[in-house]
Symmetry: C2
Subunit: 439 residues, 2 copies
């Protein structure tokens, strides 16, 4: 009986895994070039810390020993993101870390949501965050955007992952704007404006007037703000034209303009100021980001984050941070499933060494060892067999070269066969490892 | 309030994580050179498959959605090894895999055991297995040993991980030997001989005589076999000298001699034939391996496995395999905790670009971008500050070079400062990334 896949727990065949590894390697390379240090945290957190804010809205998976004993004090759950564990890690290890602390973290997370394309119960995330002790300079808000856009641009250029558009806003901008209009409860307004995409301008207008008692003109001005979206800094003028004044608004405009200017220079065309972005109401206090893949907008945001004034706090000290989280599974699983990203072969092997007879397997192994010593992934045919069968073995796996005992090597794609010395023969760099490309 | 670590769930500081990454990279490199394909399986399996053999002796962690619904058919648990998930994966995907299938898998696993040094509730394993459809040639038993020993030897040579001794036996050898002595229930004997290290020769002799009714001479011969341990193939003669005859014994002796000969040639001094090794009674049917780190024998076996005639079966077909599993956490966590393996710095950064004033941050960022474009991990000072402070910032993290706006770079270890061009300056290869060495 064949077991059935578990809905929401995607697994790759070896060729899909090669695609995923190529993506993960590129992310790691980019993050390390920008000096983010890797950490990994345990898969479980105490239920207490997973539900710290009193809300259990996330679909947490509870974890319990089958043979639970009285010494298991804390109830545990699987982490549903990498931010909660990171905040705990910073608090737990603050005496051993140097701040500002720059970390990346690439790990699985789990949520019991209803599975759909791009949304899974087990998924891989890649997060970068910069965290300061008590203070954190604002230039880091620009920095994390640029690092993540650089990573996404590499995925686009190297493998043909669709290009992205990152939409950025600043919570101070909206808060200052609402304050300038005489509105006190800015969160109440933000919460309703956040429904713009779902219920439209008129719907939000009604909520602002009926539920919050704003007058129609003030509500309309809030919606005019929410409709501003520009690829350059012209959003500043358009906000100014609405005639609202407030120091916090000025701060937010300046911050956002800085992000837009820097991104336009570093990765042109990939970032827009979008004054409708809110990213929920929880802990973001400054810049907020979200990101869509061009042509795959239905997947939702693949990459989001922002600035939080208190990632963690121990009562005496506070750790503000800014971070951004990439949904690796949300990108890779749909692209692999659609055949939009493929690997050139399903195994690492560049060369298959043929075996004439079981008695000469040792000679084949010796050739393989020489090739491997020079960094060439090589396997020895599992069975002495007719050459045609050995070539078919290689072909079925996408292995490009077969090595024969007469000291020749055959490119089985072109059929070209040349004499070769295992001490010196070198394949073209593009054949050495599996490559990944748009399918 | 500072959160406390959870016993049995070790986490590394960034420098320890660099050590772990170096180990994992080396394992991956070795496995891929030998053409093992990477797979990852989901963290959860159905409880049914985790307890398939009716035994729930492993301390399984059960996983349940906090908001569980009636559509959650299967009860789930975290996998406690990578063999059970791999067997399920092979069965589920057999139509899409090509056999013999060579895979490596590096992932976390979870067991609710009592935590102690080298034994954790969450731990990382690295497994290689070769699985055939219906048949699998015996030369793969030799192969997986050589691949794992090559990986362990690289860890020893590159980083100073202690050398290992792998002890190998063959279940056919003991079974044939007991059969030659006229013993029918060879598992009953094996089970008792397995207690040799705990209760000594006399203790086992008593069990064999009292519980199994063997005569004292036969029991003594079984124990003579169990005491044979040789670094070369002389074990064959010593077994022959005990005067027992059986075709299965011949087969086992020949198999084991082949492993010993191949290993002595490839990685001299790292493998012994040890006729006491049993590796429990469950699914192993041929070669069995276990491994100790020299000087750290108290950690127990860091690497074990063997041949199993039926990794998986769907009723019609059977998938025999041979594999070996390395306890990455069991090696790395104790060595890092003891300071026996250390990283040269706690961040990826090779260069810190100093910032004179916040107004010139853009120039510092431009220098950093040029260095990164040539593969040099670089960070920009988070704050314009006195040069002494910026040097201290680098020093505290182990960053070897500081770049100044006058176009010079300083090796802060030697104090040497030279003019440099960000388009051409290149650090020594040994400084480019953090290095790992015996502490």
């Amino acid at each position: 009986m064949r077991p059935k896949p578990l809905s929401g727990f995607p697994e790759f065949l070896p060729s899909g895994r090669i695609v995923e590894q190529a993506v993960l390697d590129t992310l790691r390379e980019t993050f390390e070039l920008h000096s983010f240090a890797s950490i990994e945290t345990r898969a479980v957190e105490t239920m207490d810390s997973l539900t710290r804010k009193g809300e259990i809205t996330k679909e947490v998976y509870v974890v319990r020993r089958l043979h639970a004993a009285s010494d298991d004090v804390a109830e545990l759950g699987l982490h549903y993101d990498l931010t909660v564990p990171f905040a705990r890690y910073v608090l737990e290890n603050s005496g051993h870390l140097t701040f500002p602390f720059r970390r990346y973290q690439i790990q699985k997370a789990w949520r019991g949501e209803r599975p759909q394309e791009g949304r899974y119960r087990e998924f891989c995330q890649a997060d970068i965050d910069i965290v300061g002790e008590n203070t954190l300079a604002e230039h880091h808000d620009v920095e994390v955007v640029l690092v993540m856009l650089e990573a996404l641009e590499r995925l686009h250029e190297r493998f043909g992952v669709p290009p992205v558009v990152m939409a950025v806003n600043n919570r101070k901008l909206a808060e200052g704007f609402y304050a300038g209009l005489g509105i006190e409860d800015h969160l109440a307004v933000l919460q309703r404006v956040d429904k713009f995409d779902k219920i439209g301008r008129d719907g939000v207008q009604r909520l602002l007037v009926d539920e919050l008692g704003l007058n129609a003109g003030v509500a309309a001005t809030c919606l005019d703000l929410a409709e501003i979206r520009t690829a350059d800094t012209s959003f500043v003028e358009r906000v100014r034209a609405l005639g609202v004044q407030h120091p916090l608004l000025d701060e937010g405009l300046a911050s956002l303009a800085e992000v837009v200017t820097a991104a336009a220079e570093a990765v042109p065309g990939r970032l827009v100021a979008d004054l409708r972005i809110a990213r929920g109401l929880d802990y973001y206090t400054g810049t907020v980001y979200e990101t869509q893949m061009t042509g795959l907008e239905s997947l939702g945001s693949i990459c989001s984050g922002g600035r939080y004034d208190a990632l963690a706090s121990d009562g005496k000290r506070t750790w503000p941070g800014v971070g951004i989280s990439l949904g690796v599974s949300r990108i890779v699983a749909p692209l692999v499933a659609r055949g939009a990203l493929t690997a050139s072969r399903s195994v690492p092997s560049c060369v298959l060494v043929a075996v004439d007879a079981e008695e000469t397997r040792g000679q084949a192994s010796a050739v393989a060892a020489q090739l491997r010593a020079r960094g060439i992934p090589t396997e020895v045919a599992p069975k002495a067999d007719k050459f045609g069968k050995q070539i078919r073995y290689a072909d079925r796996r996408g292995i490009p070269y077969v090595w024969f005992s007469d000291g020749s090597v055959k490119d089985i794609r072109s059929g070209e066969q040349v004499p070769a010395d295992p001490q010196t023969w070198t394949p073209p760099a593009s054949d050495l490892r599996p490559t990944v490309a748009a399918g």
